[in-house]
Symmetry: C2
Subunit: 573 residues, 2 copies
């Protein structure tokens, strides 16, 4: 069967031979040739809840696989690497969940063979209660990990950290350096130990995992994980884990994650702020509380519309309005929902005396901002905004409700623009103003939040568009391309991105004539001389690809000058 898109440089016959070889490895049922874009985006590959399609930003048949292969175990992943090298067919591993806003499971190079790591390799291999960690396969989602803990009666003892949606792969999210909202919100920092299949098929365990565990007879046991693998990251010698994040150097087949022991108490809260101009004061207050760990978790400042969009669509709030909402309309929504222009969501972790001490400091600091209102979450009582949802999220209970904000517009889809910034009122204001001006200019509402880590903010900008309108899609893409350049000119870079934007963002990290990218690509060529594993991932291209050609084919030619003007009337700014 001929696929919609063949791998580059691969003939139909070679492709057929590859597919036959792959079937020999994983069995007939686990190889599927993709003959149309809808087939690839069907529910099986998207989401256990089977609710949503993916959200293409280019034409739906651009980022598409030639086939999808689902290995059943590590040995099959190794074998697939070997035949992919033999046939020089590029592969694109994905795990499970939607990966929405970043391109779903689609490959950077059209026609790559998708390696579905999640379909079969989805076991929780270990949960260690005393040491508070788990060892996972790629197909374990935040939801399935949580369900596993529930099934073992451990969900109160060991807390997981979840991102906004519970359906994604824990490994996938972590190696993409996704974040959550509890004290364990920096997922990559909280991983411990990896098992990786290298592009040449070799199997590596990092850190203490490289030290064989003694078997029952005293001889080394090559299968059993070392007892310290999930306890100590570094091992001995070069510490490699980081180069397998946001990279195309290997396929992670197992990973350890630290779990948070029940802290002895929990209290979620929100604080609403009345004016858009309160942003700098909020940010300055948070920095001082966060860096001293008075705010213990990766807490968020959400814009009014992010909350509003979870509670209703644009039409329900402002019937007939298609242009970006103006200040009067935002005031109306704010009053109707009893929210602020900004809503801060945080939580207190620990026994009551500790929570009380922390809350005293937090309440006292934010009270300096006129109009700040404080809301403690109590089960069963009405709470403003999405505090019921966030109370679960910050406690590590997976939810799906937040996906609703994508329905803000009809046929809603979104993608993310996510620059990193210093935790400064001035920086937040400037970044927000740049973003707001560009979004409104392009006809989009401003739906953003700031996630405050230890010493930086992830500013998450959600561009929501009607995926059935090619013009609107192109406008969404163009405005983000503009924002990337404009933020780079201000010294800010993005932490993660969509397939279509990887090259552009990678090119902003250009110090000393792109020295870091040269380093990345020299390692790439060493570990993957045929360039078969995820070529172009995060802008890292193997020498076997014409980087410039592929960059242009993904539409990087859209520049700021060519942003389509929004057809509607200008809003009041």
């Amino acid at each position: 069967m001929t696929p919609l898109t063949l791998p580059p440089g691969i003939s139909k016959d070679t492709f057929a031979a590859y597919v036959a070889a792959a079937r020999g490895v994983v069995g007939n049922d686990n190889v599927e040739v993709i003959t149309g874009p809808d087939q690839f985006t069907k529910d099986d590959y998207m989401d256990p809840a089977k609710e949503h399609d993916m959200y293409p930003v280019l034409d739906k048949d651009y980022f598409v696989s030639s086939a999808v292969v689902a290995p059943r175990n590590v040995a099959e992943v190794q074998a697939l690497m070997r035949i992919s090298n033999e046939f020089k067919v590029p592969v694109w591993p994905f795990s499970i969940g939607r990966n929405i806003g970043y391109g779903g499971p689609a490959p950077r190079v059209p026609g790559s063979v998708g390696i579905d790591m999640g379909r079969h390799m989805n076991r929780v291999l270990e949960v260690n209660e005393a040491d508070a960690y788990c060892l996972l396969e790629p197909g374990v989602t935040f939801q399935s990990l949580y369900d596993h803990l529930v099934s073992k009666g451990l969900e109160d003892k060991l807390w997981i950290d979840v991102p906004d949606l519970g359906g994604g792969s824990v490994i996938g999210n972590t190696i993409e350096r996704g974040v959550g909202y509890s004290p364990y919100g920096d997922h990559f920092m909280m991983h411990c130990g990896m098992e990786i299949v290298l592009p040449n098929g070799e199997l590596v365990r990092t850190g203490m995992g490289a030290l064989p565990e003694p078997g029952a007879t005293g001889a080394p046991d090559q299968q059993s994980p070392n007892r310290c693998w999930q306890l100590f990251n570094y091992g001995f010698g070069p510490y490699h884990d980081g180069i397998f994040s946001q990279s195309n150097y290997g396929i992670v087949t197992k990973m350890g994650m630290w779990l948070m022991p029940n802290p002895g108490g929990y209290q979620a809260y929100s604080i609403t702020f009345e004016r858009e101009d309160d942003l700098p004061a909020i940010v300055e207050t948070i920095r001082q509380l966060r860096i001293t760990m008075v705010i213990q978790n990766a807490a968020t400042i959400r814009s009014l519309l992010m909350d509003a969009a979870v509670l209703g669509d644009k039409e329900s709030f402002c019937p007939g309005v298609t242009r970006p909402l103006n200040d009067d309309e935002l005031d109306g929504i704010q009053t109707k929902l009893g929210l602020g222009r900004w809503i801060f969501y945080g939580a207190l972790y620990g026994p009551e005396p500790i929570r009380n001490a922390l809350w005293g400091a937090i309440h006292g600091s934010f009270s300096q901002i006129p109009g700040a209102k404080f809301h403690l979450h109590e089960d069963g009582k009405p709470t403003p905004g999405v505090l019921d949802i966030r109370a679960k999220t910050m406690r590590g209970i997976p939810t799906y409700d937040e996906l609703k904000w994508v329905d803000w517009v009809p046929n809603g889809a979104h993608f993310f623009f996510s620059p990193i910034a210093e935790v400064r009122g001035e920086a937040a204001t400037r970044q927000f103003q740049i973003t707001k001006r560009r979004l409104v200019e392009a006809g989009f509402d401003v739906i953003v939040d700031f996630i405050i880590g230890m010493r930086e903010m992830h500013h998450i900008v959600c561009v929501v568009y009607d995926r059935t309108k090619p013009e609107e899609r192109a406008r969404a893409l163009a405005v983000v391309r503009t924002l990337i350049d404009e933020c780079a000119a201000n010294g800010w870079g993005e932490y993660r991105t969509h397939l279509a934007l990887m090259d552009q963002i990678a090119s902003t990290y250009s110090f000393n004539d792109h020295a870091l990218m040269k380093l990345s690509e020299s390692i790439k060529d060493t570990l993957d001389p045929n360039g078969i594993l995820a070529p172009g991932k995060n802008g890292v291209w193997p020498a076997t690809y014409d980087k410039e050609k592929w960059r242009l084919q993904a539409g990087s030619q859209v520049t700021r000058q060519s942003i389509p003007k929004h057809p509607g009337p200008s809003p009041r700014l």
Copy 2:
């Protein structure tokens, strides 16, 4: 001038030409040919306090450089890499401080040219008060960083984390993955952003440092560090920092470190335990308190003799005894000093209500162990053991007092054996028993501590020997070689080691036919095809070296079977 040891495969003439070229780069005053081992180990290269020699475990003229070159800036480091490639001369970078127990500044390959990164490149480039970080050059010691904070009046606002001795390089300690004792005790976790000269001379900045900061004119400014470089580690794409730790892939020329904002209060304490057999209960208690962050810092359990050796030498406690001390003698010291067989040192961080809550939990838990005695540190009041010193250390104030325990025996020297273990009473007991049996069998006293990180223990075994006695030195080396093998057979590996032991320890991380080492060495050969940078560091050899030959030359042939018997009478065990 001909050096004591030429670089391998380099003639006198080539060496002379290299030295001339190096003088052309760094100036005459900054190149010194090493004609004898004492010259290399002179005070300048050892310690600002100029108190101590290094502690050779092989003959003093084995691990020795041919010359030492001290670059004055980054461009000179780059130029040195280029000429080293041209002449194929191996180089061994070191920073500042003693690096005692690990080989001092000596190179793994005799005759390598030492690159003294500390002599000139010793500036604190930035201290950022609001974001609590600093940006350092390699020659900045914990002491000089602390002094810098004092000079700026910031020492109360921003706390550093220090290891046991204050004279070492912050960068050197961190990239060797050393640990300290405050909540910021995992130094590598608390670094943020690196600048690195690669073996080919290329200059790379990692993370957000790869994004140019806008200059005054709006154009990118290649010199100014990006404002987020020290705020967010990961940047975009593969995260490389880890592979520049414990490695020979590049020379770190700048690094950011996070500083701890004053937590609002501090209280150091110690708890003494009466019996050696209390160890498992102590460890089990700590695990539960540590993993829940009730114990907030990287706290330590020290054996009686580690404290005793700081307070006096062996002769002062037990005149005339040269064999390992027996239980009666240990009882006598314990009574005399008012200490325990084990002493736990911890600290509470935060305002008083939080400290009180934490102390309540800690006191309550340890009170379950019969005989436990609690001591809060109060300035100016007598305290048991080394609490006066540890109170400084856990507060981030550099000290030098702990070096005294090396004088336990005449002409004392030491080196470390440091396996990683799970935080379990059973594991601590078993590891302690193995260690004790082997040390006593070889005639050494048992001086150890356990440092408890988030989920593992560093068991630090200090083998103290008379460096003037070749037989005793050989016995010290042999007993550690035995312990390495014996612990590996139990599934435990070391986190860091002395030059002489790097190959042996690296070889224990052998999963899947040494797959991790093959990965390390393939990256090595890519980044350093001539194998000029620190060949053999942590067991990673470039293809240009005969690994097996070099391994044997460093005395790896000493095996357990050949441990010399201690000549004295057997102690009572």
